[in-house]
Each structure stands twice: as structure tokens, then as C-alpha cells.
Amino acid sequence: MARSLTHFLPLLLFVCFAAIASVALIMTLSGERKLSELPSALIGKPVPVTELPSLSNPQAFIKIEATAATPYLVNFFASWCAPCRAEAPALAILGKQIDIIGVAYKDKPEDSRKFLADFGNPYRAIGIDNDGAAGLNWGVYGVPETYLISKDGIILKRHAGPIDGDILRDEFLPLIRSLQDRE
């Protein structure tokens, strides 16, 4: 009896390993587990207080502070970023529902202005993050990235990459609606 156990133990171990690997593989193939989706460290944490020169008036500053009057979005974008153009329609819709603060990430101000003229300006205010320092504080690793922040200044959601129709409809709009209903 004891022998048959040691006999089958390796097989059992292998079956366990194969089962775990299969589940991971199936989840990846079905798109349930996204390999490119990285964990976000800042979710549930207070927003990093940020002060950036304003795009519309470089003498002035825009501030992202610990609290705000309403929930809002922070969107990192750049004129040189193709996916940012792709998400312009989604941002235009979002801009009608909620305030969006834009951060022009590593972009020349004149390029940013031209980008906004070409693809629309959904932002309530735009800050210039010339060297990407603000991006570092927010844990940004590529544009576009969008954060949803409660009025208490807690980061509720982060989306890396362009917001497409599905993500807008399934993720952002329901969350924003529930936030606004709560008030």
C-alpha cells in the first residue's frame, strides 16, 4: 500500500501542476486573464498631489489636490501617441458626464494644442508634464492612461491603454453613474 502511494505521488503532483497550467492557459486564451494588464499599486490610495503648469496659460498652474468637489478623471495623453487619438471619441463622451483633467505627458505645448484642435478637447483643465515626473508619481508607464478619482481623492480605477467603446460602456460609465448617484 505504501509503495503504491510513492508510486503515484509524482503522477499526482504532475496532474496538479498540469491542471493549474491548463486553467491559466485557458483563461489566457479566452481573454479572461490579460497578460498585458499589470497590477496597479495606487488603487484605493490617495491621489498623488500634483502641480503642473497649465497648457492654456503657462504662467498659471493646475493642481490635483487631496480632495475635490466632485469625482473626476485624470487622463495622461500626448500628441505623439496614436492610441490617444483612438480614444478621443470615448473621452468626448466621458467629458460630458464628468470633469477630466488632462496631463500632456512628455509633449511640446504647441503639439498638444494642435492635437486638441484636431481631435477635440474634452478636458476641463490641462497640465504640462514636460519631463514625465508627474507620470512617475502616478505610476504611469505609457500613454494613454486614465484614472478615476473620488471626490475624497481616492484612486478608484486605473485604465492603461486607450478607452474603447466596450471599456467605456462596461467599465467607466457604470462606475461614474454609481458615483454620481451616491451624491
Binding site: L9, K106, D131, W138, G139, Y141
Partner: protein, 540 residues
């Protein structure tokens, strides 16, 4: 069991190999570095522990990504402000999460990661020790005499016993082989010290292709210039104008091509061949539309020579354009019928014919395949494929009878008679085939080529000698008369005419034909010599 031991060995060696990773090229640039060598050393050390979040499997020290550069700068900025290593790591961990650390901290989520190697070692080692013990103390059953046991249990114990003894050698060999294979693979394809040739190679390949295309174009250009010069030097030479048209067509210079063709046409004074070439060029220039000018030319060509292939083809195109699919089908069918079987345009014509037939709702007979029975439709052909040879023959015979009946009611269908002849040939009835051929030649008295072919068949049959020669000869003469009516100068016809006259004893007539024939062929040829000899014999 022995495989498991081998597996553990392989895993162990594999893990130790992993740590021997090759030092990567430095991504860091000179201006990024700190002046203080001690601080810089710390910066490098920290950078090696931080993950580049864009590339994900490189440290920020290795990575060329923008974000990695930013993070390197951030680390150095914090170092300069006097922060210690732990603070810097903690700060980045707070912003980017555990994921930024290449050494993941031990937590509930990562415990499996950290514990697996230890567990694998413990379990594997335990199993190996257990196995060893069993080898040293074999179970009592194996000591029993095998011959007394009909049960196969002890045998299986013995097999296992031997297997465990062989395990280390097997495992070592297997793992060595796998590692060696991996190493070879790595050196050939994976080593970072490999020169990064592919791109430069591709670049040179691309430029090679481009230069080849350029050379080809230059060649075409040269041919065009040469042809143009030739027309300037000898503007009366039709050939050089045609060459210019070809060269211009190669270069896609539509206007030049049309001009050259028009000039050639005016020089020849309405040559049908050039007219149809011009019609074709006009059609090409209109992207496949048969424009009125082209239609006019086609009509002129066909009025002069109803068998001009290019004009026939274009006329079919024009019919398609007008929606007269039936007319297009007739046109192209005729073209296929009169074309030599190796004509280069047949493929295109057949494709177009199929399309026209589909649009007209006409089921095409398998005219296109001369070796097959043309009376068979595609459907009955595939049905025929499933039949026994006898059944198939019977079916073909039935169809031949029907075709024959139809032709007897409409004897002017020369193509139909030819099909019937082919069917009889397939059925192994050469006499009937010959009769059908004669009917075909009767139906199309103007078709010189057909008359000649029938005549040859008749002469061959006569020479075979297994049939009444006289009836064949009578038929042959009939055909010959028809053929001579079309072209009284044709050498072959003249020869046959002389031949028949001599057979009938009419020496003068024979001499008349053969002298005429001698005039049409080169005097020095072998045929001329033989013919002269025959003439000499006649004179005697």
C-alpha cells in the same frame, strides 16, 4: 519513478544554468551617470533590482525604454537628495507596486513561487532516498524461485528493481542531452552576442530587389529609346513602329503605344493584324472598355477576316459589355474552335467563356477539352466516371446517336460533325469518324485547314489498305476539289491533285499540277528534287 528522478535532475541543472545569464549591453548613457562613483554604483545596483514596466522582463538597468530612462533618472535624483536604498525602493514600490521589484517580496500571493523549488527538492530528494532504501532491502517475494510462480507479480517487481538501479545513468544522460540541445539552440539562435545581422541583411536584400527592378526598368527604357531612334531614322519601316509600340506597352506608355500603332497602320494601309492590335491597345487604355473606335476597328477586321483571333476575342468582350452574353459565348466558342490547341490565348478565352456562359445561363459543353467527348456535359461526364466501362460506352453511344440525328437534320453544323468524328474515334469506329469528317468538310467548304485535315485523314486511311480504297479516293477527290476552290495555289493540294491525275492516267493534268507546284516551292529543296524526278518519270 525513474523518470521522475530524471526530471528533478534536469530541473536542478536548468535552474543553475539560468543564473549564468549573459551580461547584457548597458542601456545607460554617459550623461545619465552621476559624478560621484559611490552614488553611481548604488544607482546601478538599485537599477538592476527594478523592473522596466514596459518591457517587463528586463531591469531598468538593461532597458532602453523611455520609462526605464525616467526611472533611472528618478533613482539618481533621490540618491542625490540623500535618500537611502530602502527608501527609494519603497517609494517606487508604492507607485508601481510589487511588480516593479524584480525580486518579488515573500507574501501570500508569492509564497508558491518561493516555496516551489524547496518543495520540489524536498519531495524529489525524499523519493530518491525512499527508492534507494527499497533497492537495498528487496521485498521478500523477489527472493522466491521464479519458476515456481505462475503469478506475474514477482516478475514485475524484478523489472522495477532493475529499473531503479539504472536510474542515475539514464537520468544523467537524458538531462545532459537536453541541456546540450538547449545550449546548441541558444548558441545558434538565442545568444545576445550574435551579431544583429537580420535587419542589415534585409536592408541589403531590399536594396538588391530595388536595384533589380530598377535595372529591368532601365532595360525597358533602353529598348524604348532604341525603338524610338529606329523610327526616327527610318520612319517608313513598319516593323520599327511595331517594335516601338511593344516597348511603349512594356513601359505602360499608353499614348506612345497608340501613336506607334496608328502610324504603323497608316503605313501598311489598313492591315487587319495591326488594326486588331490597335483595337486591343485602345481597349487596354480604356481599362477593359471596348470603346467605339475599337469596335469600329474590330468590325472592319472581322469583315475582312472572320477568324482573326484578337478581333474575335475583343468582339466577345464588346458583347459582354453590352450584356449580349449569348453572343459573347458564341464568339469565344468559335475562337476556341478555330484556335490551335497550343494557342497562348486559350486559357484567357476559356475563362471568359465560362463567365459569359454563367451569365447567359448556358451550360457549357466540355468543348474546351478536345480529348474528351464534346457531346458530354460536365454532369454526365462525372456520372460517366462512376460507371463501369461497358455502361460508359453505352452511354456515349446513346449520345452519339442523338448527336448524329441532330446533325442529319442540320447538316451545315461543321463543328458538330467534327465533334461526332471525335466521338467515333473514341468509340473505335474510324470509318464512321471519317464519314463524319467528310460531312464536316462539306458543311464548311471555305475552311481550307479543315479540308486539308480531312484530305490527309482520307489518304492515311487509304494507305492503311484495310478498306475499300476506291470509296476513300472518291471522297478524297471530292474534298480536294472543294479545297482547290478555296486556294488553287496551295502546295499540298497541288501535290494531291497531281497524284490523283497520275493515278487516273491523265499524265498531262498531273504534269500541269506538279509544274505549278514546283513554282511555289524553293528550287533547291529536297521536295523539289523528288518532284522533278517524278516529272521526269511522267515524261518518259
Amino acid at each position: 519513478m525513474r523518470y521522475f528522478n530524471a526530471l528533478i535532475l534536469i530541473l536542478l541543472v536548468g535552474m543553475s544554468l539560468q543564473t549564468l545569464s549573459v551580461p547584457a549591453a548597458f542601456a545607460i548613457t554617459a550623461e545619465e551617470q552621476l559624478a560621484d562613483p559611490e552614488l553611481e554604483a548604488r544607482a546601478r545596483d538599485l537599477s538592476k533590482q527594478l523592473r522596466c514596466l514596459v518591457c517587463q522582463n528586463q531591469s531598468i538597468d538593461d532597458s532602453d525604454a523611455d520609462l526605464a530612462k525616467d526611472l533611472r533618472a528618478e533613482v539618481r535624483k533621490q540618491l542625490l537628495s540623500g535618500a537611502d536604498d530602502q527608501t527609494i525602493m519603497a517609494d517606487l514600490q508604492e507607485k508601481y507596486g510589487d511588480y516593479v521589484l524584480l525580486n518579488p517580496p515573500v507574501s501570500l500571493a508569492t509564497i508558491g513561487l518561493w516555496a516551489t523549488p524547496i518543495l520540489a527538492l524536498l519531495i524529489g530528494g525524499g523519493l530518491i532516498i525512499l527508492n534507494r532504501r527499497r533497492v537495498k532491502q528487496p521485498p521478500p517475494q523477489s527472493a522466491q524461485d521464479l519458476s515456481e510462480n505462475t503469478d506475474d507479480k514477482p516478475v514485475s517487481v524484478k523489472t522495477m528493481h532493475a529499473g531503479t538501479l539504472g536510474t542515475p545513468i539514464l537520468a544523467i544522460t537524458a538531462s545532459f542531452c537536453i541541456i546540450a540541445a538547449g545550449a546548441i539552440y541558444w548558441f545558434v539562435l538565442g545568444s545576445p552576442s550574435l551579431p544583429s545581422q537580420p535587419l542589415s541583411q534585409r536592408a541589403s536584400e531590399i536594396s538588391q530587389d530595388a536595384s533589380q527592378a530598377e535595372a529591368l526598368l532601365a532595360e525597358k527604357q533602353k529598348a524604348y529609346t532604341a525603338a524610338k531612334d529606329a523610327t526616327l531614322r527610318a520612319p517608313e519601316n513598319i516593323g520599327s513602329w511595331l517594335e516601338l509600340a511593344l516597348a511603349a506597352a512594356e513601359l505602360g506608355r499608353m499614348d506612345d503605344e497608340l501613336n506607334a500603332l496608328r502610324t504603323a497602320l497608316s503605313l501598311t494601309g489598313e492591315d487587319a493584324g495591326i488594326k486588331s492590335m490597335l483595337a486591343e491597345a485602345l481597349t487596354r487604355s480604356a481599362e477593359g472598355q471596348v470603346i467605339p473606335e475599337a469596335r469600329q476597328l474590330i468590325a472592319e477586321v472581322l469583315a475582312e477576316n472572320g477568324r482573326e483571333p484578337r478581333a474575335l476575342f475583343l468582339s466577345g468582350l464588346a458583347a459582354m459589355e453590352d450584356g449580349a452574353y449569348k453572343r459573347a459565348v458564341d464568339n469565344w466558342r468559335y475562337l476556341i474552335e478555330i484556335s490551335p490547341s497550343d494557342a497562348p490565348w486559350l486559357v484567357v478565352v476559356r475563362k471568359n467563356l465560362q463567365e459569359a456562359a454563367d451569365r447567359a445561363g448556358i451550360e457549357l459543353k466540355t468543348d474546351s477539352d478536345n480529348s474528351n467527348l464534346p457531346v458530354l456535359s460536365q454532369e454526365s461526364l462525372s456520372a460517366a466516371a462512376e460507371m463501369s466501362p461497358e455502361e460508359r460506352l453505352e452511354m456515349i453511344e446513346g449520345m452519339v446517336v442523338r448527336l448524329r440525328e441532330r446533325l442529319e437534320n442540320a447538316p451545315s453544323d461543321s463543328a458538330g460533325w467534327q465533334r461526332l468524328a471525335r466521338a467515333y474515334t473514341v468509340l473505335g469506329q474510324p470509318e464512321e469518324a471519317l464519314k463524319a469528317l467528310v460531312s464536316a468538310s462539306e458543311a464548311a467548304p471555305g475552311d481550307l485547314k479543315l479540308q486539308l485535315a480531312v484530305l490527309e485523314q482520307l489518304m492515311l486511311a487509304g494507305q492503311a489498305g484495310d478498306r475499300s480504297q476506291t470509296s476513300d479516293q472518291a471522297l478524297a477527290k471530292e474534298v480536294l476539289v472543294r479545297a482547290l476552290a478555296v486556294n488553287a495555289e496551295h502546295p499540298e493540294l497541288l501535290f494531291f491533285a497531281g497524284h490523283f491525275a497520275r493515278q487516273e492516267g491523265d499524265k498531262d493534268k498531273a504534269r500541269f499540277y506538279w509544274v505549278k507546284l514546283l513554282d511555289t516551292i524553293p528550287q533547291t529543296s529536297e521536295t523539289a528534287r523528288l518532284l522533278q524526278a517524278e516529272l521526269d518519270k511522267l515524261a518518259r
